[in-house]
Subunit: 353 residues, 4 copies
């Protein structure tokens, strides 16, 4: 198979650079261009590097950033991975789709669009079909989004449980890493030795997106899942890895052992298709009394290409009719660039590309 040329949009940012990391030597894709705003035009990726301690090949680091002109991008690249800021993403991504590019986006702008898949291949692979309903699809252009980083980590185990036991309510509190706010993002004066119990629009996104993602795809539309979803979101002094405490009221009685069994047995479409970026086990259930932890588990996932793509779940326990557990996922890999790359791999497998 000849590799598809892909564009990375927003290559000066954290998510954009995670895309680059994942696309080096990818079996399906080849980086066709790194794009950002005019301000960074002509600078090399190495000069604008935001990630610390991630290794890149020398010729990746010397690649020049280009000004993001949708026409030029669509001409050169079949796909575009978008790490654009929300305010820019909306029009730019639409424009690219119109020009025939398949856009896999990490931005929030199009997520709730009726014809836009809000996709996690392990959770709702059939939602990808929505893309065929987009007006630009005939020309090869369409938009697929991944969910908000904190919603993503939750959606994987929640779907496994929801399908098996049903769900009346989910109460979740987040402990979110600073890389989720991009760079420069959170000022150190705000977070050193501190916790900030507010992330703009985050609770709203979590409470809204989950119902679409766990919804059923029927007759060309999504029937929203119905359960109480209540989110409280905070920023903690951690670099990578969103931790979340979840309390569930299940649809039918189940003890912790049954929930653990269900989570451990969970495999889905990407595992069956052996997609390159799919972890063998999408959910890893930790048995230690004090896991998952960001420092230990953010990069969970095998094979090598799927580092940071597994969701770690721990401390699954019952309390007075509720099931409680903690979960952790890497916010810029599983909950960001990695999620979009996996989405694109599914699109290849499903012949949308």
């Amino acid at each position: 198979m000849k590799k598809l040329q892909v564009a990375v949009l927003g290559a000066t940012g954290m998510i954009g650079q995670r895309f680059v990391q994942l696309l080096e030597d990818h079996p399906y894709f080849e980086i066709g261009g790194l794009y950002a705003s005019e301000r960074s035009e002509g600078r090399s990726l190495g000069e604008v590097m935001k990630l610390k301690g991630v290794r890149f090949q020398e010729d990746t680091l010397t690649t020049k950033i280009e000004n993001l002109d949708p026409k030029a991008v669509a001409k050169r690249c079949r796909l575009a991975f978008s790490g654009l800021p929300t305010e820019v993403a909306k029009d730019m991504e639409s424009s690219l789709a119109e020009k025939g590019a398949a856009v896999f986006s990490n931005a929030a702008s199009h997520r709730m669009g009726a014809d836009v898949p809000l996709l996690i291949p392990e959770v709702n692979p059939d939602h990808l079909e929505l893309a065929r309903r987009q007006s630009t699809f005939g020309n090869g252009g369409f938009i697929v989004t991944n969910a908000n980083c904190s919603t993503t980590g939750l959606a994987v185990p929640l779907q496994a449980i929801y399908k098996k036991f049903g769900l009346n309510a989910c109460y979740v509190s987040t402990y979110q890493a600073v890389s989720g706010a991009g760079y420069p993002g959170v000022p150190s004066l705000d977070i050193l030795g501190n916790v900030v119990p507010f992330i703009r629009n985050e609770e709203e996104k979590m409470e809204e997106e989950i119902h679409k993602m766990l919804g059923a795809y029927k007759n060309g539309r999504i029937e929203l899942a119905e359960f109480d979803m209540v989110a409280s979101c905070a920023r903690v002094p951690v670099v990578d890895g969103h931790l979340e405490s979840a309390v569930l009221k299940l649809g039918k009685d189940a003890d912790a052992a049954a929930v653990i069994e269900t989570l451990e047995a969970f495999r889905s479409e990407p595992q069956k298709l052996k997609l390159p970026t799919a972890p063998v086990r999408p959910i890893i259930v930790r048995k230690e009394e004090n896991r998952p932890q960001p420092a230990a588990d953010a990069l969970a996932g095998d094979p090598e290409r799927a580092r940071g793509m597994a969701v770690s779940v721990g401390r699954v326990r019952e309390s007075k009719g509720y099931i409680k557990f903690w979960l952790l996922s890497h916010n810029t890999l599983r909950g960001g660039a990695g999620g979009s790359v996996l989405n694109a791999e599914l699109a290849v497998a499903r012949k949308l590309l």
Copy 2:
């Protein structure tokens, strides 16, 4: 009024040293002795100081630690403030009460005893009457406990809401400071850039103690309050100040504005009695979009003596039939030594001392 001689038990630890801080120049109490295990006997407080950046008088710092012999303590001191570790506290505190000392304890050992007040003067001042039922009371000895640090911060606003609106369920997740684990406590390798979603017995304590504290005192016993209480507890890299996200299902409909009004209007016994360590406003409702925060609000409270005694509440909001808010309290002041000192002040006001 002649000042009462008080003993500080566990004076080499974090809570013990907070007691010392609060008892310097206290209007009712005078430090009669600093006690710890034999190991520290003869060392000065300054040599074993664990608190950073707290000022003490020179002669406090040079006071020698004495070996904790209950007979000697009871002979010299009318009261004992206990910051003893749980495993030591049980027998030692009982022994002191038998010898006629009034013990105000921060340890968990006696909290759930049927005749032991689990007391927060703003929350359940009438529970103090339980102390009179203790077999040792006739000789002047009794035990009064304060609650677990994370339960305390929650109990104050919860009581205000519970009384006004009733309560069906409370879902709380904690973001707890490392000082709550004492010294040396949490190893830095476990918490730098990390969150640990486990604190031994903490969730159990929260889920149990709250029902006793919000219970009604009737006919010499406590009728436990009834509502679902589900706690998830984590340690974060913060020095002082426990932050908590709370989600409530109220007993009757109320919007955020009504809850805010109730919290702001809340005053209780210590405010009426103008106890020295009581904050003028036991609950401070923050209006900013991103408060309370440990770095900003841990020491909330007026007057000077009540620094760290107010509970800060913020982001009171509704979501689909639930009330959500964040709260913060100082875990070794309001949730530790300060709580016990306030308990003792109430005991003085109520003539138990």
Copy 3:
């Protein structure tokens, strides 16, 4: 004495807000206006508050920020305390001096000017006389600067030692707090669990300013002090308090005991004059094996008004012909706003105001 009206320039920044904190209830000065760029005009101080956990009076918090127009400022205020960014400070401060205002500045712009005092009242009080040589002095206008924050902490003990023992060389490495970079300043992604061994222009400032400050004022000019000064500067994940390791080659033999004695005995002009913001002991020598530390010592200094104005020195020791010690000072108090306020107090005492 009627209080002098003072302006605070840059009141939306960290240093500006430290000025406000120090000027509440100041015995000589009264805040006449809070100034910043047009962008913040009309907002209250509370709305733009950057400091966490510092208490302000209610009417201070509701004071509106005004647009910084030098003419209006000079008309209303006899003095201006400047926490302006360097690029703005240069012209603005000159303009204010021309209009008759005495400017006490924390900015670097004018520090090395031949007629501008680079002043620490404990170190070089006679340098204040330089101000009389400024062309605007006749109209009441002049500029006095305080040193770079990391230079200030060093200059105090260095001067004590230099005067007594002479000095051939000083090798210093800094461990600087993030508040020194202002707000938003250092991104959390750069400093969480990390150290950044670079602060723009910091080493150059330290190596240059110290020779002026320790220089002798003779015949209307400064004769620079002569010794090797080599600085290496790094940012550490600490909020407040610059720690520095110093290695000295003295001009004559002295053991650690002699150096300690000299440092402890050091008193200077502000102590003799009992200036309100002067610490009783400008240098506090710690005897513990592991002090000073930012968390414990940043706010050293008595009386209350001088909190954060004492320089803490510790681990004074000899090694093969060198004297080594560690020092710590509060970078936005002693090394920032507090330094300027003390400078102004000296100017009052010396009748320049």
Copy 4:
């Protein structure tokens, strides 16, 4: 070549577990046993794991810890890698050498012994010959030590410079990671948002060991190198990677460019021998204005097996006759277990094993 059986001593500690990490699939060595004190006997490595986020093979994690009996160890294993605490190491390592085992130790106990190599293969490979002079060598037993972690990172670039330009003085200040203190090691209450300017015996070790390591091996003994070495050591809130500021007075004039050229060109014995754990470039000179940093550079080094074995140097610059630079090395890899493994590889290449 048949793999040599090796013992890991102190397998419950940070260094011991780094040994295990490096010995999985090692081309020369095979783990013959994991040893620690009786207390941990029978527990699996997984149960006592201290490292976070390091991957181990499943059968490594289930290996049981054995009680450290020197006779049994020497019988089964040709070599022993020692991560023992200093107080235990002295006698135990001597005992093992007497019983015919080659001991490669990270402990300080034997470092300064006249016949004990204090070895960094890039710095002083010929010192290994000292081992042949040990009384136990005839039976196959001997002791080789690696240096203190902070000395190691310095010794590599210092040797390159010393050989080329000579050296009159070296002034170094350290910014040391908490993993250097082992587990539980530094309490979080001491280091969160803080710096501790004291590490017991660390400055003494640095000032002593460097002269032995850079000394010349002649006629069976080491002639100590002669230059002023002055160290100031501090602990910072970083998990892995010791950063150091170095100021050098060279023996002859050289500008920064010449020093950079020398550092970049530096290759030594392990590179020539292509030892498995040797980095291709032992010194990596960073050209960015703000590197090296622990978060970015602690794991520098190629090939894969040499991750964490390169020393990163940056900001090489001149200042008034001095050369200044910053260096960073991984304290438990290059400065700990990795150093000892490389020592053992050199011993194999030199036929001591």
